[in-house]
Every structure is written in C-alpha cells, then in structure tokens.
C-alpha cells in the first residue's frame, strides 16, 4: 500500500540525511566561534563546515523535503503523480548534483560559503552540482504542475485543494527565482570556473544572486505555510478559519517576493538609492501576507480550542495538543516567527540595516526564521508523515515530544545571543569570536551562550534523527493512518480570482522586470573592468 509514496519517501530520506550532517557541523561552528579549543580545530575546517552547513541546510535539506512534500500532496490531494518516471529522473539529477557539490566542499576545493560570491572561485563541479540540484527541482515542479493540469481537466469547476494551490504558487515562484540564479551560474560562474572566460563582474553576479536569494526564503516558507493552513488546524481539532485569505496569501507571496533583492544590497555600490527604496516598498509589502497568515492560522487554532470547550479569552490555548510533536513544532515555530518577522522588518529599513548588515545579528535572524520556523515545521511534519507514508508507528514517542521544545530552547539561546552580539558589532562568519588579539570583548560571553545553545540544538537534532531512523527501520507495522486535512469553516464556491495562476504569473513577471530591468541595464551599460579569480582557502 505504501509503494505509491516511495518517491516522496526517498526525497524526504535524502533531506534528513543532509540535515543530519549539517547539524553536526552547526554544533562544531558554535564551539569554534566561542573559542573552545577542541582537537582538529582550525580555520580550514571551520570555513569548510560553514560552507557545508549552509549548502546542506539551506539548499539540500529544504529542496528535497519540499519536493517530497509536493509528491505527498499530489498523491493525496489529487490522487495522482503524472509523469512519475520524470519524478525519478529529477530525483537522481538533483541527488547526483548535491553529492558532486558536497564532495568538492568536503575536499576543501569550494570553501566559498553558500552565497558563493565571485571573484572567490570554487571548483567547477560545485557550480555544476548546484545547477543539477536546481534542474532536478525544475523537473519536480513540472511533474507537480502536470499532475495538477491532469486533475484540473477532470474537475473544471472545483477550486484546487489548498495544498496544491500553495504548491503551484511555490513552484511558479521557484521558476521565477531560479531564473536569476541560472543567469548567474550558467551564464557567468560555470564558464569562468572552467577558464572559458577570464574575468567576472562581482556586482552583477551578486545582483543576479539576490534576485534568487530572497524568494528562496519564500520557497522554504510557503510549503511550511501549506502545512499550517491545511494540516495544523486538523491536528488541533479545529477548522480552517478562512480559505480565501489563505489562497490570497500564497498568490501575494508569488507576486511580491522576488522584486525585493536589493534589500540584501543596501550597502552595495552601483545600485542607486531610488531603486533601493523601490525594493524596500515591495519588501514591506511582502510582510502583509505573513501578517494575514498569522491571524488566519491562530484563529483556526482558537476554533479548535473552543470546539474542545474553552470559553474564556485565552483558555483555548491550553486546550491545544501541546504534546503532539507536530503541533508543538509548528506552534513553537510560529512563536519564533514573531521575532523573525519583526527582525526582518528591521533589516528591511536601510537606516537600521546599516547597524546590522553582515553582523552576527543576521545569523541570529535566519536561525529563527529558516532555522526554527521552517526547520521545526518540517521536522514536525516528518513525525506526522512517517506513519502515514511507511505504515509504521512512531518509535520513541516521548523523545519526539521533547525534541521540538529542546530545539526551541537551544535556538532561543543561540539566536538571542547572536542578535545582541550583532548589535554590539560582531561580524558574521568569523572563525574566532575574539577576532585577533582580544577584540571580541564586547561579545565574548554571548558567543559562549550561543555555543551552549548550539549543543542543545545538536542534542535535539540527534533526538529527531533517532526517532526517524528507528521508526523507518523498526517502527511497529500498523495500517497507515489516513491523511486528513483541515476543512474550512466556509467552503469556497468555485475557482476564483486567486486561482488564476496564469494571470498572477504574468503580474509577477512584470514586477520582476520593473524591479530589475533598469538597474541591471544601467550597470551592464557602464564601462566595467571585471575581476580575475581568487582562491584564498
């Protein structure tokens, strides 16, 4: 019975393997920065592990998990995966690409971090591997879209299941975002790393990178939101508070989350202040669908609490299933996102950005957003998925129940410390918090607290991996529980404005052109010199 989920399971397995390797490296980095002297500690190991941690967590773990989740929804919400063979081809292309990139990183040939800014040059197979990972994900997107079209042909008058609506928006966003990455990597980095071109323009490459780099965040977040809207209310015993607003949120993310990249380049030369201001407007606009999501999801949970008999102002919170590892993971992830979202609003204001740009604050920031909100949601979802996909009971249930709280505690120590250290001026990505001599005084204690947080996070990651491995290999066989999804309070009547994917894709393309065409042409038309390659690692 579970064979039809093998494709999804294989993706999720790769995602968790990448997560396991990356977690160990994370713990190592926390200790290194805090100047804890362990055997083998060294600059090379540190910067290799920063590169591997970033690439494996941000690109491999997330992408494979999202691909697996897409297949689960295609199978369960549409009853089909159209072009399963292509799905397997995409998997192998992405897997081979990830392994190629990972090998060149671990051999110390590509210590360029996950942002791989030229003119620092990695091994050609690093860029080629990353490209294959993205190509694999493009094929995955095609399979999900084909499944949707096949379903749509049979159901012309029904709105798409919310899970698929969210996935379609995620996939279109991914195609638009990775276009920028493809121009950078295929058009510039690969020929340059192979020696076909001698020089490269670092600013132009950066600009293409951030065309991709910010929507990447929403590529992670939107599948998490699908789980919040479409699964969480059901787990909590409630109803989805508003179906149309959930649909609206996904479309707004699709439309708004790409033309924002300059907020990562506020202190770069060559892009005029006016265009930076334009990207500021879209950056704040993309805050809006998250604010709407916060209301809808929390209202759905309140409905759950009230259905269980709560009648006071806040007692519904206590009636929620806090001992269910999926529920607690997501709920804690949502609490973290309050800080993540507000921190993001600070980063997006360029006057305040100057205080925090490239400081430890930024590490603190993306560890509450990606590292908590998204990662906890995906880990929690794994507890929900495994019994349904494998037909096995979760092993070590108590460990699974404790794990999300452990993660939250560790991340609170880690992230709060680095936020504060960043405000005190600690630069990001440093081997030693002391820098040289004793310059790290203002933040030395904070790096030690963060290291304790890192160790707690590693223990939490180990717990997660133990539960997953034990369940996968030795969980008690049970009839696979059914996939049950949240039902909205008011059922949508039929496909509406938010279901017109062609229209919204066109709007998104126009916005990207408006946001990028003129500043890019201005840069490209200016006489530029280019830069030769450097390998300072």
């Amino acid at each position: 019975m579970t064979n039809r989920h093998t494709l999804a399971l294989t993706h999720i397995g790769v995602a968790i393997a990448a997560f396991a390797v990356a977690s160990a490296m994370g713990a190592l980095q926390g200790l290194t920065v805090a100047d804890v002297n362990y055997p083998l500690r060294g600059e090379s190991l540190y910067y290799v592990s920063v590169t591997a941690h970033g690439v494996l967590m941000a690109l491999v773990f997330t992408t494979f998990f999202i691909m697996g989740l897409g297949y689960v929804f295609a199978e369960e919400s549409l009853g089909r995966i159209t072009g399963r063979a292509f799905g397997w081809a995409g998997f192998w292309i992405a897997a081979v690409g990830s392994v190629l990139a990972a090998v060149t990183i671990l051999r110390g040939q590509s210590t360029v971090l996950y942002t791989f800014y030229p003119p620092m040059q990695a091994h050609p197979l690093f860029y080629i591997g990353a490209t294959l990972l993205v190509v694999g994900s493009w094929i995955w997107g095609g399979v999900i879209l084909a499944s949707y079209r096949s379903w749509r042909a049979e159901h012309p008058t029904v709105p798409a299941p919310l899970s698929i609506h969210g996935m379609v928006a995620t996939i279109v966003l991914w195609y638009l975002a990775t276009t920028g990455l493809a121009i950078e990597v295929v058009g510039m980095l690969i020929p340059w790393s192979l020696g076909l071109t001698e020089k490269i323009d670092p600013l132009v490459a950066r600009t293409y990178f951030w065309w991709f780099g910010h929507p990447l965040v929403y590529f992670w977040l939107m599948p998490a939101y699908i789980l919040w809207y479409y699964v969480l209310p059901r787990i909590a015993g409630g109803r989805l508070f508003s179906d149309p607003l959930a649909r609206m949120a996904f479309i707004l993310f699709l439309v708004l989350s790409t033309p924002v990249g300059f907020h990562h380049q506020f202190v770069d030369p060559g892009i005029s202040p006016g265009w930076k201001l334009a990207h500021t407007v879209t950056t704040y606009a993309v805050l809006y669908p998250s604010l709407v999501t916060a209301f809808t999801v929390i209202a759905s949970l309140e409905v759950a609490g009230r259905l269980k008999g709560a009648d006071g102002l806040f007692d519904w919170i206590g009636r929620l299933p806090w001992s269910d590892p999926f529920f607690s993971s997501v709920a804690l992830g949502m609490i973290a996102f309050i800080f993540g979202g507000l921190g993001g609003a600070i980063n997006a204001a360029y006057a305040m950005n100057a205080m925090v740009h490239n400081t430890a604050w930024i590490m603190g920031h993306f560890h509450v957003t990606l590292g908590t909100t998204v990662a906890l949601t995906f880990m929690g979802a794994t507890y929900w998925l495994l019994p349904r996909l494998l037909g096995r009971e979760l092993r070590f249930k108590t460990l699974a129940q404790v794990q999300p709280y452990l993660w939250f505690a560790g991340m609170t120590l880690f992230s709060a410390s680095y936020h504060i250290a960043g405000l005190r001026g600690m630069p990001r990505r440093v081997y030693s918090g002391a820098l040289t001599g004793d310059l790290g005084g203002p933040w030395h204690t904070l790096t030690q607290v963060a290291a304790v947080g890192g160790v707690i996070l590693f223990l939490s990651a180990l717990s997660f991996i133990t539960v997953v491995t034990a369940t996968w290999l030795a969980g008690k066989r049970i009839p696979a529980p059914a996939f049950e999804f949240a039902v909205p309070i008011v059922e949508p009547a039929g496909p509406g404005l938010w279901d017109r994917y062609g229209l919204w894709t066109a709007v998104a393309v126009v916005l990207i052109l408006l946001a990028y065409a003129y500043p890019l042409i201005q840069l490209l038309a200016h006489p530029r010199f280019g830069s030769p390659a450097f390998k300072p690692f």
Binding site: S44, P244, Q265, V267, D268, S272, T280, F295, A354, F529
Partner: protein, 155 residues
C-alpha cells in the same frame, strides 16, 4: 470573498502597519536625506597600485573642510591603517577592493558597507565622539577573514 469581521479589521490594521513602516522610511528619506550608498563608479581592480587615488591611499582635507578617506581592502588588511579623522567633520569614505569582496564596518557606529572589486563604494559619516574604533571585515574573504581588522582614530 467571504471575510469575517475580526479578520477584516486585522487586515486593515496590518495594512496600516505596513504603511507606517514605509512612511517612516519615506519621511526620513525625503526630509533628512537619509539614503543608502549607491553611486556607480568603476575602477580596474588589477591596476589599483598605479591608481592616483587608491595607489597609496591617504586621508585628504578638501577646501570646504570636509575629509575624504580612500580605503583599499585586500586580503587581510585595510589600507590606510590606522585611519585618522577629525571629530564633528563630514568624512567621505571611498572604498574599493584589490581582490575579493570585503566588508568595512566601524564597530559601534553605523558605518557599514561592502567593498566590491571593480567598484568604488562611497558614503558619508560624521563622528561626534573622539576615540579609537575597531574596523572589521564582515564579509567572508578567505581563511584569515576573522583577522582582517583595522583601526580608526577620531581626534
């Protein structure tokens, strides 16, 4: 589209919040001319040492009393080092890089910008408090990135 009353109130409140955030930025941009760096000026990163301004970068005082500080960042130091500037004077930093991308951050101030090979990054600062400040590189630039520090002396 059916939207419950409380949710409609929240949606308006959220929209107002976004407008307030943006309004603050626009007001400070319009009235106080607070804006990020962003002028477009290119330079040949392979010929920095022959460059009239960046070849041997030195702090210069302009006729109007303001000060210009050209800074070359390279693995793993800033030049000039230390940088000496007067307090309560407009200081224009002009940054570039002779190799990879570096960051230039003066700890305890909001001076924070990228040095990108092939380009000149320009921004203005006024230092009110005399003293010694640490300059750090905040963009990974190689295995000794963490040791890339400099000193600013405000007199």
């Amino acid at each position: 589209m059916h939207v419950a009353l409380y949710e409609r109130i929240w949606m308006w409140a959220a929209a107002v919040l976004v407008v307030i955030f943006l309004g603050t930025i626009f007001v400070t941009a319009g009235l106080q001319a607070i804006e990020p760096p962003g002028h477009l000026e290119t330079i040949d990163p392979t010929a920095i040492h022959e460059h009239p301004e960046f070849g041997s970068p030195t702090v210069t005082t302009l006729p109007d009393g303001s000060v210009v500080v050209p800074v070359v960042s390279g693995m793993f130091a800033f030049s000039p080092d230390p940088i000496e500037v007067p307090a309560n004077t407009r200081v224009t930093f002009r940054l570039t890089s002779e190799d990879v991308i570096h960051g230039f951050q003066i700890v305890g101030t909001n001076a924070n910008a990228m040095a990108i090979p092939g380009y000149v990054t320009q921004f203005n600062m006024t230092f009110a408090r005399p003293g010694e400040y640490t300059i750090v590189c905040n963009e990974y630039c190689g295995l000794m990135h963490h040791s890339m520090v400099g000193k600013l002396i405000v007199k």
